[in-house]
Structure formats: structure tokens, C-alpha cells
């Protein structure tokens, strides 16, 4: 459709077409310091929201053959403070509080009385590396039943002997592969790996697998989220 027109008209048409692109400038908001933080927080929040929607309670993380295991000496020990916070095993108990019928101090023997599950699962660190380890323990779901946790509660939070702390959404806590773990590679946890009790959640990123647990709380609202999350990491980070 050729039509003859004069150059002024073309200039006007071009200018109008160029102006249509002005919404792209809105992305510049990310470069403004006062706006950058809330925008990125919103973006991360949206990702967490989507992550929670993508989580499927019945979907299991892959499990592996013993021959796929990373050898125990090559299973990294990550901590933010000390490898060994010096837990006194004789006096150790898990202190349970919050929306539960039976709060109180639980000994390792009481926890180990629950059915034991062992699984070879992948441990993925937020840094990018991954290893396959053998983890043994009891289902968090079984423990929550034992302590009479309110089924309508939304979070399980834990505190650790090294002042680390973490939280889990209830759907993930109830997942059949989410463990209160007291064994790795068929041996009681070593101090570096979080003795006497740690989390092993193959549907979550590494920093959620808190070690040296001392306290467990069931709650409807979340105050602090987790040591890394409160510094800007993803709150949900489900794999």
C-alpha cells in the first residue's frame, strides 16, 4: 500500500512510534537506590509465592543408589560461625513450644522411638554445588503428630545451638521426605554435621537444613524467617 506523503508527516509518525516505547524507561526505576530495594524485595517475594504454588506435597525428590553417594569425607561442612558449637549431649533435649498440645523437652530417645527412615538424597547449596548424601531420621510429620501440633498452624521454626535459626512452611514440614535427621551415612551425626539432631529436607535448598537443633516451635505467624533469609535470601527456596 504505497501512498505518497511528505517528510514532515513521516517525522510525526516516527516520533509517535518512538514515544510508544516510553514504558521501557520504567525499568530505570531499578537503578534508583530508594526504589531498588523494595522492587527487588517484591520480585523475590513473587518468586517465593510462585515457589509455594509449585510445591507438590505428593511429589518426591529423586533418591539415589548407594553407588551414587558422595563419599562422607567429601560432604561439605558449611556453617556461618563454628563447626562445633559444643553441644552437651548428656543434657541435650529438643524444646518444643507453640501451637502444640504437648510442649516440653524431648530427649533423643523419645524422638528415635518414632519410625526411622533412611534416604539417599541430593543436597543442593545456594552457592551452586550439590552432593548426594545418606540421611537417616524420623519424619517431621510423625514428630508433629507426637507433640500434637495444631494442624492449622502454618510454620515450623527451629533454633540451633550456634544461634542459627530457620523456618519451614507447614506443607514442606509435612512432606514424607522431610526428616529430623540424627544419622548420616549410617552413623550418628558428627558434631560438624549438626549432632545430635538436624534437618534434612530434600525439597529445600541447603541453608534450610539447620544443624544442632535445640528448639522447635509450631506457629501461625512468622517473626524472623531464617538467618540467611533475614539478610535477603529467598524465604521459601523450594527445589
Amino acid at each position: 500500500m504505497n501512498s505518497r506523503t511528505d517528510s514532515r508527516k513521516v517525522k510525526n509518525v516516527s516520533r509517535r512510534e518512538l514515544l510508544k516505547l516510553t514504558p521501557v524507561i520504567a525499568l530505570g526505576a531499578f537503578a534508583i537506590p530508594q526504589l531498588q530495594k523494595p522492587l527487588l524485595k517484591g520480585g523475590l517475594g513473587f518468586s517465593d509465592w510462585a515457589s509455594a504454588r509449585l510445591f507438590r506435597s505428593g511429589h518426591l525428590a529423586s533418591t539415589f543408589a548407594d553407588s551414587d553417594l558422595t563419599s562422607f569425607d567429601k560432604f561439605p561442612i558449611n556453617d556461618y560461625d563454628v563447626d562445633d558449637p559444643g553441644v552437651d549431649f548428656d543434657k541435650w533435649t529438643l524444646t518444643v513450644t507453640g501451637a502444640v498440645q504437648k510442649p516440653g523437652d524431648y530427649t533423643l530417645e523419645q524422638i528415635q522411638a518414632l519410625p526411622k527412615f533412611t534416604q539417599n538424597t541430593r543436597h543442593v547449596c545456594v552457592e551452586g554445588w550439590d552432593v548426594i548424601g545418606r540421611f537417616g531420621g524420623v519424619r517431621i510429620a510423625d514428630f508433629l503428630k507426637m507433640i500434637g501440633a495444631d494442624p492449622t498452624a502454618r510454620f515450623v521454626t527451629v533454633e540451633c545451638a550456634d544461634d542459627y535459626y530457620e523456618s519451614l512452611d507447614m506443607a514442606t514440614a509435612m512432606h514424607p521426605q522431610s526428616l529430623l535427621c540424627y544419622e548420616m551415612y549410617g552413623q550418628p551425626l558428627t558434631r560438624e554435621h549438626g549432632a545430635p539432631l538436624r534437618l534434612s529436607i530434600p525439597t529445600k535448598i541447603g541453608y534450610k537444613q539447620a544443624k544442632y537443633l535445640t528448639d522447635l516451635k509450631v506457629s501461625h505467624v512468622l517473626g524472623k524467617v531464617g538467618y540467611w533469609e533475614d539478610q535477603g535470601y529467598s524465604e521459601f527456596y523450594g527445589l
Binding site: 504505497n2 501512498s3 512510534e17 524485595k41 518468586s47 525428590a61
Partner: protein
């Protein structure tokens, strides 16, 4: 598809030129938003990579490269992840909008590399790199351009798929499985980024060499003095 075309008469000199409407609004919008997103995704991706610059084991760790912080965005791992996990949605949304528009408008014919374009590739390579004669221009993009743009679109899709496999290796275990597991998915994601960067470098070089006219057309949609028949 009939291209909108104009014959322009300069009001002062009376000179007559042609112009065609080469890039629809949605294509231009997606192009520029994607340019920003790609920059952010690559920059923050480098910062994320700095946390573990290796594709081997953690113990013992053998770094592939000590990536300089100057070419990284986000300041630290957590900050970079915030950028990455925010802009991935913009990147995906732009990609879907672009693909949807191209398919439903029929405009995809402008860029899609098809079998018919195959014989034209070598003459263009000869022209660009070995001083061969310039093949006749019959449409907006020559076969080599179509090949490059189609590849870039495929790479864009693959960057998302490999990224999802790295982000959600459990929920999208089938994706991770197709890539050989989480560990290799991370490597694919990295390699696809480099392939995309190779495209971007070539693309920018061609813009610098060939054309103000091309550059303006991606802003206004209109290209003056098209080398091909406007209808």
C-alpha cells in the same frame, strides 16, 4: 504479508525516498525490555557464579575461572539472586509476549529461518567474512540474519528451561533429568548464556558496522531506504 510502506517527498528539496514499517510495536517493546533483562540476568548470573565458580566437586574445589567482580551485578550472592529471581519473570513474560505476538500476527515469517533460507547462508557468509559479492536483498532479513535471530530465540527458550531446572530440580525433575540432572543443568545454563552472549556481540558489531538506519528502525518501527521491494 504486505508491509506498510510509504513514499516520502521531502518538503524542501522534493527528493523522494521510500520507507517501510519493519518492526511492529510489540516487537520493539520486547526487544528493548529484553535487552535490559538480558543485561541484568547475565550480570547477576556472573555474581551467582562467583559463589562457586566451578562445575566439578565442592571437595576438592577446582575453580574454572576467578570471575572479576567488575563484571558482576548484585554485590553478593543474596543480592544477585534477588536481581536474577526478579528479572527472570520479566525475561519470561517478554519472551512469551514476543512469541505469542509473532505467531498470532504472522510476523514470525520475518525472522524464522526455514529450509528455503538454507541456500542463501553461504553467499552471505562469503559476503560478510570473505569479501564475496553482496547477494541481492529481497526481504527484511537475509538468510544469515534469520539464522542468527532464530538461534537467539531458541537460546532464549533454552536459557529459561535450563534455568528452571537449576531453580526447581525437584518440582521439575523431568526437566533436570532431560539435562542429565541438576549438576549438568547448571553447566548447560552457563553454556547457553555464552552462546547468547556470542549472538549479542555479533549483533552489536553488525549494528555498529551496518547501521544507524537499522538502529532507528528498532526504535520507530520505520526503516528509510529499504534495500528490498516494499511490497
Amino acid at each position: 504479508m504486505a508491509t506498510r510502506a510509504l513514499t516520502i517527498e521531502d518538503v524542501k528539496t522534493g527528493e523522494v525516498t521510500q520507507a517501510v514499517y519493519e518492526h511492529p510495536f510489540v516487537v520493539r517493546l520486547c526487544h528493548w525490555v529484553n535487552a535490559v533483562s538480558l543485561f541484568v540476568m547475565v550480570g547477576s548470573g556472573f555474581q551467582i557464579f562467583r559463589a562457586f565458580p566451578s562445575f566439578g566437586a565442592k571437595i576438592p574445589q577446582k575453580d574454572l575461572i576467578n570471575w572479576p567482580k567488575a563484571f558482576a551485578l548484585g554485590g553478593w550472592l543474596g543480592g544477585a539472586l534477588q536481581w536474577h529471581l526478579t528479572f527472570m519473570w520479566i525475561y519470561i513474560a517478554t519472551g512469551l509476549l514476543y512469541l505469542g505476538y509473532q505467531v498470532f500476527s504472522g510476523n514470525y515469517k520475518q525472522v524464522l529461518f526455514v529450509r528455503r533460507d538454507l541456500p542463501g547462508v553461504w553467499p552471505m557468509v562469503r559476503h560478510y567474512f570473505f569479501f564475496g559479492p553482496k547477494p541481492p536483498v529481497s526481504e527484511a532479513y537475509n538468510p544469515l540474519q534469520k539464522h542468527a535471530y532464530t538461534s537467539a530465540i531458541v537460546l532464549g527458550a533454552l536459557s529459561v528451561l535450563t534455568g528452571v531446572a537449576v531453580w526447581k530440580p525437584v518440582q521439575f525433575s523431568w526437566l533436570a533429568w532431560m539435562m542429565g540432572g541438576f549438576h549438568l543443568a547448571r553447566l548447560w545454563h552457563f553454556l547457553i548464556m555464552w552462546a547468547m552472549l556470542a549472538f549479542v556481540f555479533g549483533h552489536l558489531a553488525m549494528v555498529v558496522l551496518h547501521g544507524w538506519n537499522n538502529f532507528v528502525s528498532m526504535l520507530t518501527g520505520w526503516k528509510k531506504h529499504p534495500e528490498y521491494p516494499s511490497e
